[in-house]
Amino acid sequence: MLLSCENVRKTFGATVVLDDLSLAVDEHQVVALIGASGSGKSTLLRCVNLLTGIDDGTIRLDGEDITDPRVDPDRVRQRIGMVFQSYNLFPHMTVLRNITLAPERVHKRAAAEIRAQALEWLGRVGLADKADSYPDRLSGGQQQRVAIVRALVNSPRLLLLDEVTSALDPELVGEVLTMIRGLKDEGMTMVLATHEMGFARQVADRVVFLDGGRVLEEGPPEQVLGDPTQARTRQFLARIIEAGRL
């Protein structure tokens, strides 16, 4: 087991965002987190990446308790990649520099080797000609692909994707989803929070429905999305279908 969250609790003031939540992710597995806004999907990802602390429970990565206060969070994050809804590229750096910064400064790899790897990645996702552009010259879909490459060059054990297509125009969603599908084929372990039910069905090995900070239902995509056992899940999916998103 690569990642395991055990009885995780997270509160913001009086609001309980994650409530005794448990979740396990095996290596090479793709897990899709679905649920309404505020159900705790993004918060869970941020907790796993130690961007925010938890109030109870344990999160283990490769068996190591990463929520132990004695653990250096920087070392943990070196093993986890994260992609954000609004890309969060560094606007003052070129695309290439965005990608090479962490390998150079954090992983202390040779500049020439990183550059070659970054250019190869950019070529694979069709952005070779954008290496020297600044992020504001790129479309949302292009920026998000760069953000994914930026996470991947660090060879993370686990990739967290936080609603990575939510800020994109509909015609740009496809190019990002294609890229993620490619990562699945290469065996990348991923946890993704998503509103794209169709995509969750295609790419996920397991779909987890969060409601009020708890795992209400989980299982293979066909079961959770096609034949949910819980009334809340059915209600949620009915609203999604109503909105034309499934």
Binding site: R46, L51, D74, R77, R105
Partner: protein
């Protein structure tokens, strides 16, 4: 390409002609109103009962010619002092702003001192700082005390350093938390995040207000004359005392404005460029 082939329609040609007429009308109106205001001002000032006396004691070409060389020589001191003080104050401001972002209990005294410094020197009038530094420190009779020029410059640096530190801090705080999250998620340490992600963006963003403070410093450099060195203001003061005529002050004032113009021009240009970049991005 197609733009050149496109022939505007009847309606569009009418609009263009109308707009052109409106533009000509605005220009003529502006010229007329400027002329009227100018004439009124000139009549009011030169028609004032005391104008002849004022012209003699403030705008005497003869006195201006006599003291211009001395004032120019003094101005050269101001320019050198400005460059050195601006660089040092910027460095100090950035240092203080960075110290205030340090985290962890070990750095508490550093943070507290940096905060206390910005609070004190933003409140303390520059004149008092100059007196304290230029007259107080030599009064200690320590060996190797620098001259009043250096001490006066130091007063400028510590005072402006406090202002600039706040400008830098505002810039640091304006960088969106999502940038920090992205940097930390890549495994960058807090320090690396500040250095590579936060500070470069912060400095770019506050370049216009920083330059604006440099223009203000340009003026206040004249205050070191209080400590004794003969800068443009001091040279003018000597002229005033010798001839009992205020013209040297006017000369010095004009020179200060001329000195500020290029700096103000650069500030406006940088501000415009920043605004344009911001509207182009995102």
């Amino acid at each position: 390409m197609s733009d050149q082939l496109h022939r505007p329609s009847e309606i569009q040609r009418g609009r263009i002609a109308y707009r052109r007429r409106q533009t000509i009308r605005s220009v003529l109106l502006a010229a007329l109103s400027t002329a009227v205001v100018g004439v009124l001002l000139a009549v009011a000032v030169t028609g004032a009962p005391g104008w002849d006396r004022v012209r003699q004691s403030f705008f005497s070409p003869e006195v201006a010619r006599r003291y211009l060389p001395d004032i120019l020589e003094g101005l050269w001191l101001n320019v050198r002092l400005l460059v050195v003080c601006a660089v040092l104050a910027l460095a100090l401001g950035l240092l203080i702003a960075t110290l205030r972002t340090l985290r962890g209990p070990v750095f508490f005294p550093v943070r507290a001192m940096a905060t206390g410094y910005t609070y004190t020197f933003r409140g303390l009038p520059l004149i008092i700082v100059i007196y304290l530094m230029a007259f107080g420190i030599p009064g200690l009779r320590l060996q190797g005390t620098p001259g009043v020029l250096v001490l006066g410059g130091a007063a400028l640096v510590v005072t402006y350093g406090a202002y600039l530190a706040e400008v830098f801090r505002a810039g640091i705080e304006s960088v969106h938390p999502s940038q920090l999250a992205a940097a930390r998620s890549l495994g960058l340490t807090y320090r690396q995040t500040m250095r590579h992600v936060v500070l470069p963006q912060a400095i770019r963003r506050v370049a216009p207000p920083l330059l604006n403070d440099t223009v203000a410093l340009q003026k206040d450099v004249g205050l070191v004359s209080l400590a004794g060195p003969i800068d443009a203001v001091r040279a003018a003061q000597i002229g005033v005392a010798q001839d009992a005529n205020y013209t040297p002050y006017i000369v010095a004032g004009v020179l200060f404005v001329l000195l500020a113009l290029p700096l103000i021009g650069v500030t406006d240009w940088v501000t415009l460029r920043a605004a344009r970049r911001q509207s182009a991005g995102a």
